[in-house]
């Protein structure tokens, strides 16, 4: 079966710095694929290229077997690729519900409709409220997104992504900067999504990664040095030397 997402020979340099160095990996349907690596390894740059906000210098990206390498970010989103941002990116002046309802609107019919009041479209509102509840934000519908706490904004990003009903979800450090209780809730949420869609998860919380991931890829200085099950990665000598070693004390 064609994988949900295939990356082939992805290469990207910022001047002399090679941030993606021939990266290739597959994500199967329903797989949760974690990408770990030290700060500055090029994880976010990889997500940017997958989502379409940065163009690679070389290489190909396939979504469900279709080449999306040259598609815009918006076109990729419409084909079922959703992402969250490492640095929170929401519509601060709109309410939480409006943020999510826009994501529903994007995949339900034309938005070149000028007269009917969008706030009265219950189909949009109902699905948006559902996604908010799934992300743990029930009750926050009418709050202005800019006034949410940091953790709530992270939850809102996930609600927006869920409302897109994506085939592949890219999560760039969804737990970053969240408190204990919030990150536990987010982890529950991600665990609940497992198997229903393909997820690429970037996360520094190793405990969470090894518990959640079906497979893990290790990125160091722009190169994938290993891909495998959590057990295989834990046992991999090269990974221990390059990355895990200093944390687990080999």
């Amino acid at each position: 079966m064609t994988p949900a997402l295939s990356v082939r020979g992805l290469t990207k340099s910022f001047d002399a710095l090679k941030v993606s160095d021939g990266i290739s990996f597959d994500v199967a349907w329903g797989e949760l694929h974690a990408i770990i690596g030290p700060n500055g390894a090029g994880k976010t740059t990889l997500i940017h290229q997958l989502s379409g906000s940065l163009a690679p210098d070389a290489g190909r990206i396939l979504l469900g077997g279709h080449d999306i390498t040259r598609l815009s970010m918006a076109a990729r989103a419409r084909r079922g690729l959703a992402r969250s941002f490492q640095i929170t990116s929401i519509l601060a002046g709109l309410t939480a519900l409006e943020n999510v309802a826009l994501a529903v609107q994007a995949r339900s019919g034309s938005s070149f409709r000028f007269l009917r009041q969008v706030a009265r479209e219950s189909a949009l509102n109902d699905q948006a409220a559902e996604a908010l509840a799934a992300a743990g934000l029930a009750g926050a519908e009418d709050r202005s997104a800019g006034t949410l706490s940091h953790g709530e904004k992270r939850q809102l990003e996930i609600a927006i992504a869920l409302a897109m009903q994506p085939k592949v979800l890219l999560l760039d450090e969804p737990l970053a900067g969240t408190g204990h209780r919030e990150s536990a809730a987010l982890l529950d949420l991600i665990a609940g999504l497992k198997g229903r869609l393909s997820i690429v998860l970037i996360e520094h919380d190793m405990e969470a990664v090894f518990a959640l991931a079906d497979r893990i890829s290790v990125l160091v200085y722009g190169r994938l040095i290993a891909t495998g099950t959590p057990d295989a990665i834990r046992a991999d000598a090269q990974v221990r030397a390059a990355y895990l070693g200093d944390e687990e004390g080999a």
Binding site: A77, A106, S111
Partner: protein, 309 residues
């Protein structure tokens, strides 16, 4: 009801009896001044759609005022005075100019967008200045007042006032619907965070360009009215100074509120008129007053109504 809507209804209710009040005061000319303010209120409303809801700071919006005025002026000079022809021509010309210049301008952002809209506005200005058949630099007197299926909607200052007020109300209601529609929400979303909108699947360009064209077309309606009001058309309607004044009206009243630009335009035109009566050196204090008003009423006049926070 939202504060903005309530303020607008109160404004309409206050405006309605004004002509009667002015003639009772023995100052019927004030009706003419107020009509001019309402014409600029329409223009400011149209600018607010792109400035306040779309974060597109156009410094060339007066071009559309000029396109409307010249559509009326040139057609009238050729014997066509009917609004049933003049308005569609003005709308089509403004829409076409907006689509072409917008398609180019909207590839830029920020200061570049301001500069390029300014440049297109000045191009329209110089184009009209060079039309010697239609008065060139000096402009030309309107050959005949616009008619509507043979009727004479601008025949008296009273009728002119109420026709303009009705148009303003209609356009306000139209833009209120547009800004609350699916389209309006996408436009507001691109104002808030373009990347986020792309990440959920919207390509902002088409929505921005559509808003830009709607905005230009509505401004051209104000241009047709302005030509009739002054009984004159001139390139000076299209200059960058006029574009700047329109931005000031929107910001003064409160961007992105619809009611704000209406209040801003009325306040702007009336205080301009009042200061001009007091002193011939009115431009300096007027400029200072606008700056202070913008500085001290965050969110414009409507923001001041909401109360300080």
């Amino acid at each position: 009801m939202r504060l903005s809507d309530r303020a607008m209804l109160v404004t309409f209710a206050v405006l309605l009896p004004m002509p009667a009040l002015f003639s009772a005061m023995g100052e019927p000319f004030l009706t003419v001044v107020l009509t001019r303010a309402l014409i600029f209120a329409i223009a400011a409303l149209s600018l607010d759609l792109i400035l306040g809801f779309g974060a597109m700071v156009s410094f060339g919006h007066a071009a559309y005022l000029g396109i409307g005025a010249y559509a009326a002026g040139i057609l009238a000079a050729n014997g066509v005075t009917g609004l049933e022809v003049q308005l569609p021509v003005a709308l089509a010309a403004a829409g076409a100019f907006a689509l072409v210049t917008g398609a180019i301008s909207l590839r830029t952002r920020g200061v570049h967008f301001i500069m390029i809209t300014l440049a297109f506005g000045q191009m329209a200005y110089f184009l009209m200045s060079s039309l010697s058949a239609y008065g060139g630099d000096d402009g030309m007197a309107l050959a005949g007042r616009s008619t509507l299926f043979g009727a004479d909607p601008f025949g008296s200052s009273l009728r002119f006032f109420y026709v303009t007020l009705a148009l303003l109300a209609g356009i306000w209601a139209l833009l209120r619907a547009v800004t609350r529609s699916r389209f309006g929400r996408v436009l507001t979303g691109t104002r808030e965070n373009e990347t986020r909108m792309q990440a959920i699947g919207f390509s902002p360009f088409g929505y921005r360009l559509t808003a830009y064209a709607i905005s230009g077309m509505i401004a051209s309606v104000a241009g047709v009215l302005l030509a009739n009001h002054a009984a004159f058309v001139s390139p000076s309607y299209m200059g960058w100074a006029r574009s700047g004044e329109m931005i000031a009206m929107v910001v003064l009243g409160g961007m992105g509120t619809l009611t704000g630009p209406v209040l801003g335009a009325i306040a702007f035109i009336l205080s301009e008129e009042a200061l001009a009566r007091l002193t011939t050196h009115w431009r300096l204090p007027f400029g200072a007053a606008v700056v202070l008003a913008v500085l001290f009423t965050r969110g414009g006049l409507l923001g001041a109504l909401r109360g300080r926070r």
